[in-house]
């Protein structure tokens, strides 16, 4: 049963991800991106990563996409009001996306050559208990570094959200 579910979810994910790019209306792209996130969350569930599944839904589908939708509804974008991007911008965007996929595929190749890791208790590996233990022992440094990144992001958001003195006078 599991391969069928996997295939269904994978096909939904790929098709909706393509729809994100091809949809004319930005709101439709955002909605299909939500569908993509849900099918990826389903894939996490198939791998017994229940915590990751819930976090994917809360953070991506629940919070980030609501904000995306929120901004798009406020802006009410359409083809004629959308700023035309120059070709240079497009080249840079595709180059960085290509580099990112290169990094991902390199990671997958390295992962495959590493062979079987000694994973005990594979059924419960994705549960909060194990995840928390691993995060606070084996991966403490990356965990703390990413928390500093989050803090920097928060400070940046507060700084951007703050009104400049010139603006507040007018």
């Amino acid at each position: 049963m599991s391969p069928t579910i996997f295939l269904t979810l994978a096909i939904i994910a790929v098709v909706s991800a393509m729809f994100v790019v091809f949809a004319k209306n930005p709101v439709h792209s955002v909605l299909s991106l939500i569908v993509t996130f849900f099918s990826i969350a389903g894939l996490y569930l198939l791998m017994n990563a229940q915590f990751l599944f819930v976090v994917q839904i809360i953070v991506y589908a629940g919070a980030i996409m609501v904000l995306f939708l929120f901004v798009l509804m406020l802006l009410n974008l359409s083809a004629d009001t959308e700023p035309q991007k120059s070709n240079r911008f497009r080249v840079i965007a595709s180059a960085s996306a290509g580099l990112l996929s290169l990094v991902f595929s390199a990671g997958m190749v390295i992962d495959a050559t590493m062979g079987d890791r000694n994973v005990t208790n594979i059924q419960e590996i994705g549960l909060v208990k194990h995840l928390g233990k691993v995060l606070f022992t084996d991966y403490l440094v990356p965990f703390e570094i990413s928390s500093i990144l989050f803090l920097a992001g928060m400070v940046g958001a507060v700084l951007l959200g703050k009104r400049t003195p010139k603006e507040s006078k007018s």
Binding site: Q50, F51, V54, G62, A63, V66, L69, M73, V128
Partner: protein
């Protein structure tokens, strides 16, 4: 019949039972709402359909069904239809992980009166709540009406803001009980050992956030009649409107069930160990849980008909500058006490 089939049949029956009970209660909440409003305003309330007007919900439903189902010309039609569906779906989804009663043994088989005990239960609730806003947002945007759009935008920003305070107050509970499973959290509050005595501040924060998440007055900015006509459902008619209104009552019922389970011991009650028969104990437990739920529903209605609506900046101020810092302080204090007691 092997074990799996029996299990599947029991679970399916349970799903149908809880689905039916939720719908029935939500239907009659509309009647209670009117009666409570009438009581608080010194009126009689609905009294024409049946004795004491108890057939009023049926009359309402009949009216809803026979109204013209109108879809605006320039709306995004598929999304316009999808909106109320999502609202209803997410409202009904959370009922599946609430423990409605303790384990009982019937005909030699033990089963939990809970559809699914997933080990990230409480996070699942937060997740469903966070996607619940899509129904309102999509419906409001697809209506192609300025007032609907305003309602949708208000609803979404309000939900995002109050979700944070809600999540932070839940974290304090999780730290205390050491489990994310609702079943464990409820089981730990055996007898009178309710979480509300350890987390009074958390309870108040959760209650206020729950009111805001349900879009109930005084936080019903999304459908504020004096400013936005009907808010996000201005363009809706017939049963599509009925779905939106109905989803609100289901949400209220489920949030009251969650408040009772998290803070008021769920199916636990004082001196429950004096009842020796586990089946009787379980049945009383379920009845007690429903009693608590109805008390909170009455509280929600009481608040609605007592307090005036917030202004929008007051709402944001309360959420971001008061509830979130308080919830953070509550979380820190809980952590400190747990560490000290170790």
């Amino acid at each position: 019949m092997n074990v799996d089939t029996t299990y599947l049949i029991i679970k399916s029956l349970m799903v149908l039972t809880i689905f039916g009970i939720t719908l029935l209660i939500a239907t009659y909440l509309t009647y209670f709402e009117r009666k409570v409003a009438a009581f608080l305003q010194d009126r009689l309330g609905p009294d024409r359909a049946g004795p004491f007007g108890i057939l009023q919900p049926l009359a309402d439903a009949g009216k809803m069904f026979f109204k013209e189902d109108f879809i605006p010309q320039n709306s995004a039609k598929s999304l316009f239809i999808l909106g109320p569906g999502i609202a209803m779906f997410t409202a009904l989804l959370t009922g599946s992980i609430i423990p409605w009663g303790p384990q009982i043994t019937l005909f030699g088989e033990t089963f939990d009166f809970q559809i699914a005990d997933i080990n990230v239960g409480i996070l699942f609730i937060v997740g469903v709540v966070s996607i619940g806003v899509y129904g309102i947002m999509i419906g409001g945007w697809a209506s192609n009406n300025k007032y609907s759009l305003f309602g949708a935008i208000r609803a979404s920003s309000q939900m995002i803001s109050y979700e944070l305070a809600m999540g932070l107050s839940i974290i304090a509970i999780v730290m205390m009980s050491g489990s994310l499973s609702l079943k464990d959290i409820v089981a730990q509050q055996h007898g009178m050992n309710w979480n509300v005595f350890y987390q009074p501040l958390g309870f108040i924060i959760f209650l206020i956030s729950a009111l805001a998440e349900c879009n109930r007055a005084p936080f019903d900015l999304a459908e504020c009649e004096s400013e936005l006509i009907g808010g996000y459902h201005t363009e809706y008619s017939s049963m599509k409107l009925g779905f939106f209104l109905f989803a609100e009552y289901i949400n209220m019922f489920i949030s009251c069930a969650i408040i009772s389970s998290l803070y008021f011991g769920g199916y636990n009650y004082p001196f429950m160990d004096m009842v020796t028969d586990p089946t009787v104990q379980g049945l009383i437990g379920t009845a007690v849980l429903f009693g608590k739920i109805f008390f909170f529903i009455f509280l929600f209605m009481w608040i609605r008909w007592t307090l005036p609506r917030f202004r929008y900046d007051q709402l944001m101020h309360l959420g971001w500058k008061m509830l979130i810092p308080l919830a953070l302080a509550n979380m820190l204090a809980t952590g400190a006490v747990i560490l000290f007691n170790q």
